[in-house]
Symmetry: C2
Amino acid sequence: MKNNVKITRMKASITQEQLAKRIGVTRQTIGLIEKGEYNPSLHLCVAIAKELNKTLDDLFWEVDDS
Amino acid sequence: MKNNVKITRMKASITQEQLAKRIGVTRQTIGLIEKGEYNPSLHLCVAIAKELNKTLDDLFWEVDDS
DNA sequence: CTTAAATGTAATATATAGTTTGCATATGCA
DNA sequence: TGCATATGCAAACTATATATTACATTTAAG
């Protein structure tokens, strides 16, 4: 479950807590998603993408470690 | 939870059951996702997209009824 | 060296995604 | 008419995403 949430959030200069609050979810949930330890719901993925002005593909599609 | 799974699957000329089996999920799950009554996991969305040779955005991003 | 903010992590609880089974209905074909 | 395939639907069950609470760790600022 590798994804680009962490790097995108940091580029936007907001904290996990700020992102979580705007989406209506817990800080822990954001943390676990960024760590790749969660398999988030589509709803959540869409909410995160919209809040970060990205699309699903930007954040969650074929992400490679590099 | 509107999406393009049903129309894409039908264009590919496969049944719900075939798609489900290839993905490793139940027919009912595919049916409910197509009906928009489920909030599927990211894992599942990715599996469906790959099986249908589409991306997440193709199937699940800002889908409009028309 | 403190203090506060940001993040990691862990236990328990709750909501819901996904399974299993089974039956109903529609449609195409012999 | 009768049979097989594809889909809809519903109840009860299991697995897991997410919440809640709380504490530990890091880092920057005073």
